[in-house]
């Protein structure tokens, strides 16, 4: 993670200035054995995170973002899974731990918030017990202490009547309330690292904002590092300090949030961005979708994984795969693309697409056929991507 000045008002890190980072992940690879062969879900991801900061991991379904967070946490099943790379938590390598060593970390040092609050809570256990059980297990609290703490946690996540809700079952609560309970469970033992795996995807838009605000508030109070996994760039825009965009199991672009939005380099990031509907668009504007589908991870395509869907694709992209390299202008901005946004090649394609669109929609405004022959006539350039398929 790039070095940035800490936001004022935050407590200082508990460790000494030279203390190890909260989390450092080096070249993690996760493969699943499937009937069709080995599926590489995460392919060489490196990242790092400090306490008190948020890393947004963005990508469409199947990009490996959820598997990444589970790989880091060590939550994947042991069978059918092959994992390599280093995960260094507070200076300690944890990727080789056994289950009982992991249990010391899980819930206590690192916790996870799950996507769907409708299924993440045990339907046959009272919510109070679901909070107290980890308190009793990790912190050896007495029954009554655990209950007091759990009620305080329910209060902290802004659940009305926490004493009453302590003995409710999950089905007696709304989706937003349940997600608050899930957060309370995750926060119970005071973890230093929190994985939020699509924490708001299953919720109403209005509730989404409340839950994200709650997470931010708890992060400030508890000084946690958060890895916020989402498919929605809009969710991480205002919440993450840094954003990593994932595609086909790899990070394809990574930068501090403001930099990423102002100077995105990777065509995939641009496509994700274009997929967010804008309030300023006229009503009934067609939603922009990324054509095609994510690549098959058992038999990945040759070259850049995004090349089959990339509007700016060049012959080289089909042959070689780009590596994640720092931008020449800003070293904290990494991207994996031979022809990033802003390069002459992509600008040319962009102009041509715009011209084609104009021709199609309003030919009367275009004077005569193009005077200078564009390279489109000679070199094979793919048509602009279809706009009908869903993401």
């Amino acid at each position: 993670m790039s070095v940035q000045t800490p936001i004022s008002g935050l407590p200082t890190p508990s460790g000494t200035p030279g203390a190890p980072k909260l989390l450092e992940v080096r070249d993690i690879v996760t493969r699943f054995t499937t009937d069709r062969g080995s599926l590489t879900a995460v392919n060489g991801v490196s990242l790092s995170l400090e306490r008190g900061r948020t890393l947004g991991v963005v990508g469409e379904s199947g990009s490996g973002k959820s598997v990444l967070s589970r790989s880091i946490m060590g939550l994947l099943p042991r069978s059918n899974t092959e994992r390599s790379g280093q995960v260094i938590f507070e200076g300690k390598e944890i990727s080789g731990l056994n289950d009982s060593e992991y249990r010391e970390l899980w819930g206590d040092e690192m916790a996870m918030i799950f996507q769907d609050p409708m299924t993440a809570l045990n339907p046959v256990m009272k919510v109070g017990l679901q909070i107290t059980e980890s308190l009793r297990f990790h912190l050896n609290m007495s029954k009554s202490d655990a209950k007091d703490t759990a009620v305080a946690l329910l209060k902290a996540v802004k659940i009305p009547e926490p004493e009453k809700r302590f003995s409710s079952y999950p089905h007696e609560m709304s989706g937003g309330m349940r997600q608050r309970v899930v957060i309370a469970v995750a926060l119970a033992c005071g973890p230093k690292l929190l994985f939020a795996d699509e924490p708001t995807t299953a919720l109403d838009v209005t509730v989404q904002a409340q839950i994200l605000d709650l997470l931010a508030e708890q992060q400030r109070e508890r000084y946690m590092g958060i890895i916020l996994v989402t498919h929605d760039l809009g969710v991480v825009a205002g919440r993450a300090d840094e954003i990593a965009v994932m595609y086909a199991g790899q990070i394809v672009e990574q930068a501090p949030t403001a930099l990423l939005f102002s100077e995105m380099k990777m065509p995939y990031t641009e496509a994700l961005m274009a997929a967010i509907p804008k309030l300023t668009d006229a009503s009934h504007t067609r939603l922009a979708a990324i054509g095609g589908r994510p690549p098959d991870l058992v038999n990945p395509p040759k070259g850049c994984a995004f090349s089959p869907r990339c509007p700016y694709v060049q012959p080289r992209c089909h042959e070689e795969s780009p590596t994640l390299t720092p931008s020449p202008t800003a070293p904290e901005h990494l991207f994996a693309c031979f022809y990033p946004i802003g390069s002459p090649e992509t600008e040319e394609v962009r102009l041509r697409i715009a011209a084609q669109r104009l021709m199609a929609t309003a030919p009367e405004f275009v004077a005569a056929p193009a005077k200078t022959p564009t390279p489109a006539e000679q070199s094979p350039v793919p048509a602009p991507p279809e706009q009908t398929e869903g993401m």
């Binding site: 939550l75 916790a111 046959v124 059980e133």
Partner: protein
């Protein structure tokens, strides 16, 4: 309201069950009095025929029995010399059957639950495969064959248990268990396989739920995740089948009762059919049907204990 509905169900079921059971007995050829009093005179036969209303229609006979049963009169065993009340024998053999059923269910669940849970947890391992193969082998052994095997090896050769007969637990608890252990094992063995497989498949589905991953992410021990988080939501099918099985075990343990000479309901029913004791048969079928319905009513109540979501569905 709920209770009233259940009570209505009970009455309708008892009537239907006994009606069809009696109709089946009607299909048996020959004069029942020939079987009831083989050496009786013509006059005795005629008297008995009148007493049993054999000279009247089936509808009259059935409704007479139903009226008597409703007022608590279960009828008599008819012989030439004396008429013994059915209730006497019923109160002797019903406890035998109930205890046998209870022991067999407990033993079956005692093995099936841990094995069902662990085979689901260790799905695909050698432990899972071995357990499943063993379960199918157990399921494949016929009751009578297993009964004889146990009698011969554990009863005769080793002399640990009694091979036949019965003692009530109030008379002699130790003897009671000596008599009951072998029939219990014989009955339970097949059930273990069925229960284990049922629980295993439900557990496998439950273990893939998000809340199990969340319990794991809390750092809980596997034992707690399996038995506190996963078992309860996975046990509804098992409970249903175990409940339905109780009926089968009360009246249907005939083979085991014959092999071990246990004076239970199965044996009594069999005897009643063979000796054309129609009234006794109707009363016993009715009692078993009532027990069956009561047990399954208890199972319905247990659902709501296991899954609070059903509790709410019942209220609304």
């Amino acid at each position: 309201m709920f209770i009233l509905k259940k009570f209505g169900q009970l009455i309708v079921t008892v009537i239907l069950v006994t009606l069809f059971a009696s109709l089946l007995l009607e299909l048996l050829p020959g004069d029942p009095t020939e079987v009831l009093i083989p050496s009786g005179s013509d006059q005795q036969r005629e008297d008995l025929r009148q007493e049993l209303k054999l000279d009247q229609s089936f509808a009259v006979r059935y409704s007479t029995w139903l009226g008597n049963f409703a007022t608590g009169d279960m009828g008599n065993y008819y012989t030439v010399s004396s008429d013994r009340p059915v209730s006497d024998r019923l109160w002797q053999s019903l406890p035998v059957s109930l205890l046998l059923m209870f022991y067999a269910q407990m033993l079956a669940l005692f093995f099936a639950i841990p094995f069902g849970v662990l085979t689901a947890y260790r799905k695909g391992t050698w432990f899972d495969r071995t357990s499943n193969t063993a379960a199918f082998a157990m399921l494949a052994i016929p009751n009578f064959a297993l009964g004889f095997l146990l009698q011969y090896y554990l009863g005769v050769k080793l002399g640990w248990f009694k091979t036949g007969g019965y003692a009530s637990p109030s008379e002699s608890p130790i003897e009671h268990f000596q008599y009951m252990i072998l029939p219990t094992i014989t009955l339970a063995v097949g059930q273990i396989a069925i229960y284990m497989r049922l629980l295993r498949s439900d557990m496998i589905a439950t273990l893939q739920q998000d809340f199990i991953l969340m319990a794991k992410a809390k750092g809980l021990k596997s034992k707690r995740i399996l038995f506190r988080h996963a078992l309860r939501p996975s046990s509804l099918t098992l409970l249903t089948v175990a409940g339905l099985n109780i009926g089968t075990l009360i009246g249907g343990a005939l083979i085991v009762e014959v092999v071990f000479a246990l004076p239970g309901m199965g044996l009594m029913l069999f005897e009643a059919i063979g000796r054309r004791q129609i009234v006794a048969f109707q009363s016993m079928v009715a009692v078993i049907a009532i027990l069956y319905i009561l047990v399954n009513f208890a199972v319905d109540l247990l659902y709501t204990v296991l899954d609070p979501r059903i509790r709410n569905a019942n209220k609304s």
